[in-house]
Symmetry: C2
Subunit: 237 residues, 2 copies
């Protein structure tokens, strides 16, 4: 079943004029024709079955038929990730979407040597991953902030799990025992600086955790931490 | 600290003539010179500190100085993975190495539409990932077998976790409660066929498990399942 994220409001009989990319995908790539049906969602109105009503030079239009799933949003989980190399950052966004993060927030840290980041590209990856994984929303991708700034503005009601290989941190399953609003912070490949680690460890809402005895790349750490969080207190229980 | 996997036996004073690729990596990429030290391991003799003794046209030679870690091997965990697209298969091999799988075994299933697989390339990825993650062994990459054949030859003393989205499977944390020898089987993106699923469900040593409410790509499923296994009964406890 083809699934598309659309910006339009969804209701029975709503007409949806798709953009050029989605029109080309449906007609040229997936060889869909007038009368074929697919699933659409917009992050607000649940999932709808829609039929292709026109395929023309000006694009593809759909008509929404009926609601197939009510709107649902997963746990209130943010992934905060230091800017890492482009390929790994794209993997992280795809996987965070599949693993049910509600938002991905990019940060720069002392040991981040980030080149520029293509937010439009990351958002397209999140949208495509949401379509594929069956979510009814697309995670927000928030542009880079400095870690200091992010922590200065942090709502202390949201807990923060950070992966800290230094010393005696508990496992994620031992560190994450209560549901609610959380953020998971993944540092750059070079790790946090000693000053950043001290700062994080002193925050009352922050919990360190270890991810096993081997050194993990940032994308692996992000995927593993999201998985364990979902298994511990999220929608994998 | 640079770490290299080498085929040579390691003992104090052993001379190691590196191959062309590793020689070039040390001299041209990492700009190492005579007297610089690095870590080497061979999967048998633990980790050793070694010094560069010559850098020449015929390559780089090292001399092993002293043992820094005794040989250690992680849990007896195999990842069995259906052939998926090249990029995702390469991700799976890299991540299985970081996440401590002892072997990666490739299988073809009814819904696998595999093109050929480059075992040499997958083995190079496993070696590089082992160097980076701090392991003292490189996971074996076993070439493709048919799933039927693999199961016909299975040692029933090894348990098998397979990810089954159909129906009422328990979570991985509920399904994996005893340590020992395990395999984790990840199907192709199209899933197992009904016949394959029935076959797997009937095996006395096999346990189905679910990976949450969303559809995961094969690489995500592999990483998540390995992570949960390590957290439940492996070396992440």
């Amino acid at each position: 079943m083809i699934r598309l994220y659309v910006p339009h409001d969804l209701a029975a009989g709503a007409h949806l004029a798709l953009d050029e990319g989605q029109s080309r995908y449906l007609s040229a790539v997936m060889r869909q024709a007038v009368g074929d049906t697919l699933a659409v969602f917009n992050g607000r109105d649940g999932e709808w079955r829609a039929a292709i009503t026109t395929v023309g030079k000006r694009g593809v239009t759909l008509t929404a038929l009926d609601s197939t799933r009510p709107q649902h949003i997963g746990p209130d989980l943010d992934l905060i990730v230091a800017l890492v190399k482009r390929g790994r950052l794209e993997t992280i966004v795809e996987k965070a979407t599949e693993l049910g993060a509600r938002r991905v927030r990019l940060v720069s840290t002392e040991r981040t040597n980030a080149d520029h980041v293509r937010l439009d590209r990351l958002r397209a990856i999140a949208m495509e991953a949401a379509e594929q994984t069956g979510r009814l929303d697309v995670p927000e991708i928030a542009g880079p902030t400095k870690l200091d700034r992010l922590l200065a503005d942090w709502n202390p009601a949201r807990r923060l799990l950070f992966c800290d290989e230094g010393g005696n941190a508990p496992t994620v399953l031992d560190a994450v025992t209560t549901p609610g609003s959380w953020g998971i912070l993944i540092g750059p490949e070079g790790g946090f600086s000693p000053a950043e680690r001290d700062h994080l460890r002193a925050l009352p809402y922050a919990t360190p955790a270890t991810l096993g005895p081997r050194i993990l790349r940032a994308d692996t750490a992000a995927i593993s931490a999201l998985t364990l969080w979902q298994a511990a207190v999220g929608d994998w229980r």
